[in-house]
């Protein structure tokens, strides 16, 4: 089951590790990102960030989630098989809304999307503390919403989710 689809251009970082993995008791994290999937160093660092959970967070949660860093296409293939019967509590992370649209268009079943970090750079407009968007992002958000998928801004699990429809 996909417990969370998160849009976060930092992919895996402290907020995901200390917030979401614990809150959702996730047993699997799938990062669907073409750049990361082809960057061996980045893959290694992201995987180790989660393994670090074992060093700094064992005890009541001895299981360290498995991490897979996949291209969008690979993720589609694996998620199609996963969604049916799988018991894994999965967090799926993509870096931008267009990638979420790609997954949905290719048959990955998602009920809602949670927006964490979309960094600012020139050409983007800052709409929330950690979210900056350009026209392509807004278009992708609208595409998700038009398919009945709720898009919420929620950086940490204890934050109250804000409906992105009010901000784009």
């Amino acid at each position: 089951m996909i417990e969370l689809l998160r849009i976060d251009d930092k992919l895996i970082h402290a907020q995901v590790i200390w917030g979401w993995i614990r809150a959702l008791k996730a047993s699997c994290i799938i990062v669907a990102n073409d750049e990361a999937a082809h960057d061996e160093l980045r893959k290694k660092v992201l995987i180790m960030a989660v393994q670090g959970l074992g060093l700094v967070g064992e005890g009541t949660q001895p299981c360290i989630p498995t991490v897979r860093i996949l291209s969008l296409k690979e993720a589609v293939g694996i998620l199609e098989r996963l969604c049916g019967s799988c018991q894994e509590r999965t967090i799926l992370v993509v870096s931008k809304p267009a990638d979420a649209v790609f997954l949905v268009e290719n048959g990955v079943s998602i009920k809602s999307v949670s927006v964490g970090w979309m960094s600012f750079f020139p050409g983007k407009k800052r709409i929330l503390e950690t979210v900056s968007v350009d026209d392509e992002d807004v278009k992708a958000f609208c595409e998700l919403m038009s398919r009945g998928i709720g898009v919420m801004y929620q950086a940490s699990p204890s934050d109250i989710g804000l409906d992105m429809v009010d901000y784009i």
Binding site: W18, G19, G52, L55, T60, S158, D159
Partner: protein, 135 residues
């Protein structure tokens, strides 16, 4: 619930809490005590007293910045003299705070203190060395 107070020189304590809350979201019973230049032992003791009273709980851990420093020393005097059960752990870092916030609901005060020390130590890694080992 066990209260957590971070105490340190300058704005160290409130800044570390603001970072922690950006990671884990807003936390209950997590307070900063900042000690500014020129503030003495008395000022710190009053602040600790005020923060602990406002929390209205009987158990707390103070995570202070550096062992042997004036803040840690004063926290120790405070812990020994207050009616509440207060423990002091020194050398606070981000992994330590994350650790205590994660476990404070499920363990007792003594165990939380040992988890704080463990979490703080284990967050210190030769990261490049670790990366090389994993290659």
């Amino acid at each position: 619930m066990i209260g957590i107070i971070v105490a340190g020189h300058g704005n160290f304590a409130s800044e570390i809490i603001s970072v922690v809350e950006s990671i884990m979201g807003k936390q209950r019973y997590l307070e900063a005590v900042n000690v500014k230049a020129g503030e003495g032992e008395h000022a710190l003791r009053s602040k600790l007293d005020a923060v602990l009273n406002a929390m209205e709980i009987d158990e707390a851990v103070i995570l202070s910045d550096i062992f042997g420093g004036s803040v840690s020393n004063t926290c120790l005097y405070f812990a020994e003299s207050t009616k509440a059960q207060v423990a002091v752990v020194t050398g606070v870092n981000l992994p330590m705070v994350l650790k205590v916030l994660t476990y404070r609901d499920s363990v007792d005060l003594a165990e939380l203190v040992s988890l704080a020390c463990k979490g703080g130590r284990e967050g210190i890694l030769d990261a490049c060395g670790w990366l090389d080992k994993g290659r």
